[in-house]
């Protein structure tokens, strides 16, 4: 439908919409997160749901204790290698459409514990992450910002066509392989179908991880 005609009609008090807009409007305003926290970021997540920051304004205060009723997984905290299979399994048990917010430095990359032998260096090695919130821990405002970004993302999703989201595409998987807690590391150490880190030329940037030349 023509956008100008639609605006003109709405000025006259006539609401026009499409099935896609209606569908996305409903989904945008009822994102139910999984009641699930891993470390200190979860405290910020809990604070976000409480009266001061009030996530209920976005229709997302219903933290579900069961993955079968949740739309959104907020990976809030350090994912240890012992915990990673459980996180992936919980993600697999969520029904489509499902989204993941990687909250805090630990969930993104391992954060301050990146060098730890038992810390997973980013949950995006196993499950597709929609939004990353940097911070240690991120403020509740940052989580709300991520929520609003996710709402924008859901609102823009197409019902049909090539760019339609994963849950409407029969060819794309809903479950991802659960890693095994092996003798020395998780097996496999990453899911190459999901984890595609950008190639960085360390020789050109001139610094290594420790910050020295």
């Amino acid at each position: 439908m023509d956008e100008t005609l639609k605006n003109e009609l709405s000025k006259q008090g006539i609401l026009t919409t499409t099935l896609q807009e209606l569908y996305n409007w409903g989904r945008t305003n009822s994102i139910w997160p999984l009641n699930f926290g891993l470390a200190c970021c979860a405290i910020e997540m809990i604070a976000t749901t409480m009266a001061r920051y009030d996530l209920a304004r976005f229709g997302a205060e219903v933290f579900r204790p069961s993955p079968r009723q949740a739309d959104l997984m907020i990976v809030a905290g350090t994912v240890t290698k012992k915990m990673a299979p459980q996180v992936v399994r919980l993600y697999n048990q969520m029904p489509e459409p499902k989204y993941v917010i990687s909250m805090g430095a630990c969930a993104i990359s391992g954060g301050p514990f990146k060098q730890g032998y038992n810390v997973l260096k980013g949950i995006d090695r196993y499950i597709p992450v929609d939004l990353y919130i940097p911070g240690c821990p991120p403020r509740p405002e940052a989580l709300i910002d991520a929520f609003m970004e996710l709402q924008k993302k859901i609102d823009a999703q197409q019902l049909t066509g090539e760019n339609r989201p994963r849950h409407l595409n029969a060819g794309q998987p809903s479950e991802f392989p659960v890693p095994r807690f092996g003798e020395h590391d998780l097996e496999p150490a990453r899911n190459p179908a999901i984890w595609k880190p950008p190639l960085v030329q360390i020789a050109q940037t001139g610094t290594d991880e420790s910050g020295s030349h």
């Binding site: 569908y23 069961s66 993955p67 079968r68 915990m83 299979p85 459980q86 996180v87 399994r89 919980l90 697999n92 048990q93 029904p95 489509e96 019902l159 849950h167 409407l168 595409n169 029969a170 998987p173 809903s174 479950e175 659960v178």
Partner: protein, 123 residues
């Protein structure tokens, strides 16, 4: 036109049922035409948890646990009787004291029986 004061209630009831059913039907139709069915081993698992369930739910408790629990319950109740008995002890007549003693001895006899039957041995 005598008893149609309930007519609005019936209409509302039908509307409520129709609303609930139509929502479910719409969701079903939506899933049918737009959302592809994607089952999987984790998703279809009976127990929704990060951990896989281990073992069988039909486990057996030792019968000794049952006897142990019963004996505990009896002496728990006895303690409740003993407390007022101890408080009012000085005001009792001989007959009342003997009655209480019989009660105590009966229970102690039960305990001795349980001891001889090896119920209290937890292996």
């Amino acid at each position: 036109m005598t008893n149609n004061i309930y007519l609005p209630v019936i209409v509302l009831l039908l509307a409520a049922v129709a609303f609930a059913l139509s929502t479910l039907l719409l969701a079903w139709l939506w899933a049918r035409f737009f959302s592809p069915h994607k089952p999987g081993p984790s998703k279809n698992a009976i127990y929704e948890c990060g951990l896989e369930s281990v073992g069988d739910a039909w486990i057996q408790f030792k019968s000794g646990y049952y006897l142990y629990g019963i004996i505990f319950l009896i002496f728990d109740v006895e303690a409740i009787f003993l407390l007022p008995f101890a408080v009012a002890f000085t005001g009792f007549s001989a007959a009342e004291s003997i009655a209480m003693l019989v009660f105590l001895l009966l229970l102690v006899e039960g305990l001795i029986w349980a001891y001889q039957k090896n119920v209290l041995v937890w292996t």
